[in-house]
């Protein structure tokens, strides 16, 4: 409970020196909360301009849609804070989802088994990436480009390019069920986000993640086992991507081997909008959550307003720039 309140306090802003002139204060406020303010502005705009936007139904809808990208983005945040990147997440979504879909009908009611195997697949791919990065000394971009190719190949070969359809009831519940008024994917996402926020901001391991990203050599010199930290983040990245894949599969009641293609770019965009630097050392889970929701709300809003698909990409690009301009204040 006290943990919760502390987290809420953390969400409201970083503790920092709070002295200084009024102008400085305003600037610091915008810097700290820029993306939040921007998010609020967009929500207000859509509440006015987009019919039905501000209905409970639609808001639940947006969060549910965002929860898959959101889950993947959680792990990506860890990885990017270490100055890494994971391009394989999209294909992990495909492969893990595929595994899940293949095993789920066979296992009947006991959907824990396919769930664990699916997550295991994510762990395995994360392990491969980590091994290349840590033991092979290969740049994350390339290592995960390789695992991306390998995982996608595996998904295609396993099913010979076919779609796997028809999950069992409990498995489907993962994607379409509700607990009270809240969809299951949303609950999974929120729980995972809280856990990640806790780990990243409160634990020793979290602190080391920032250290590795800030200055890997210094981190090594003070005795942090940087290899272990890197291993962990890629494993986390693999698991969250796999979890995203399971939820996606459950949501679509089937898995295509190409599912998740191109997700990596969306996920990275959301994480960066949330204030995580590609160069490592900086970033928060709460920022990522906002980044994910911001992208989700914009897409939803454009659909509600009936913006043509032709223009949607362009509008998204512009929103992106605006969001980041606000984030920039922070780095000063």
């Amino acid at each position: 409970m006290s943990l919760m309140t502390q987290n809420i306090k953390a969400l409201l802003g970083p503790a920092d020196l709070k002295q200084g002139s009024a102008a400085t204060k305003v600037k610091r406020f915008v810097g700290d909360y820029g993306i939040l303010i921007f998010f609020a502005l967009i929500v207000i705009f859509l509440a006015v301009a987009a019919p039905n936007f501000l209905t409970l139904n639609n808001l639940v809808n947006v969060v549910r849609q965002s929860s898959i990208i959101g889950l993947i983005a959680l792990g990506m945040t860890f990885i990017m804070i270490t100055a890494g990147i994971d391009l394989s997440v999209g294909s992990v979504v495909g492969l893990a989802g595929m595994t899940f879909a293949l095993l789920a009908p066979a296992s009947g009611g006991a959907f824990w088994l396919p769930l664990i195997v699916g997550l295991g697949v994510g762990l395995l791919v994360g392990f491969l990436s980590a091994a290349m990065v840590v033991w092979g000394g290969i740049l994350p971009f390339l290592a995960t480009l390789a695992t991306m190719a390998i995982a996608r190949t595996a998904a295609l070969v396993i099913t010979d390019g076919q779609v796997v359809s028809g999950l069992s009831g409990p498995a489907e519940w993962l994607g379409s069920g509700f607990i009270g008024p809240i969809p299951v994917p949303v609950i999974i996402f929120l729980l995972a986000a809280l856990l990640c926020e806790f780990v990243l901001s409160r634990t020793k391991f979290g602190s080391h993640v920032y250290a590795v990203g800030g200055n890997e050599e210094s981190a090594k010199k003070v005795g942090i086992s940087t290899g272990r930290v890197l291993f962990m983040v890629y494993l986390i990245g693999g698991v969250t991507a796999a979890l995203g894949g399971l939820v996606l599969t459950a949501r679509l009641d089937g898995a295509a081997p190409v599912a998740g293609t191109g997700y990596e770019l969306q996920v990275i965009a959301a994480v960066v909008i949330g204030g995580t630097s590609l160069f490592g050392g900086v970033g928060t889970i709460r920022g990522t959550v906002i980044g994910v929701l911001l992208l989700g709300v914009v897409m939803n809003g454009m659909n509600l307003m009936g913006v043509s698909s032709y223009y949607q990409q362009g509008v998204q690009g512009i929103i992106l720039v605006l969001a980041v301009l606000l984030n920039r204040w922070k780095s000063d």
């Binding site: 634990t203 020793k204 602190s207 090594k220």
Partner: protein, 295 residues
Amino acid sequence: MTDAPPATPPLVALKDIHKTFGAVSALRGVSIDVQPGETFALLGDNAAGKSTLMKVLTGVYQPDRGSIELDGKRTEFPTPSASRDQGVEMVYQDFALADNLDVRTNVFLGREPQKNILGPFLRIIDRKKMEAETKRVLERLDIPINPRLKVKRLSGGQRQAVAIGRALAFDARLIIMDEPTANLSVAKVDKLIEVTQRLKDLGIAVIIITHRLDEAFAVADRFAVMRQGQVVGRFHVGDVTEAQVAHLISHGTLDDYVDYGDGIPAERRKIGSTSSMDVVDAMATRGNTTDGSDS
């Protein structure tokens, strides 16, 4: 130039260490030993190999040849964490700080104090304690810094203080300081000398690398002089003068040392002579052969 064999095994002994980087031989058979509780100064010209030697001792580099002994037992430091676990702390010449993190986090990096929540299995970082300890260590060094400031915002001396504070904040058996006073102001240097002396009283061994001979003579029991990757002299602090050591640092031998009796090293005598003035003369006459304009 020879030490009597000590009764107890030395706290740490480096034996015949070699280390080559590509074409550069940084260390060519270096042996030193440090007794428990002793303050040991490592002196030498720039690029003599001092920092490299110490990084071998803290596990940053692996030696190409040679061995490390701890309490008389042969050991290996494959990683800095192995060395730190044995109670060896080091203040690195480049400070080894993470610029993106705040002062307290840097001080406790890799050794974060934790507290239990929900029983002993769920432990979180104790930031309050980190903050309090950081404040204490830095204030006692007489360099108070807000523990929540990002390190990248600090002045040169403040950064150095954080690096020193980190080494002092833990229970060490050996503290290595690589030019710890380089960026410190007069009063801070004196304070650090005091602290070092006090460490000796507590039985904590110190290796200090410095180019300031007065500092070395103020704190050290013994010292070694390195030159071009080798040790060219080992002394107890009373056995030589600052002038002799300065000569040794620059020339690698005392054979051609001339004692003027006033303690001024031969090097300083040359000040005002024309020996090495031509660089500046060249600057004056070069004119515009070098294109200074931007592209």
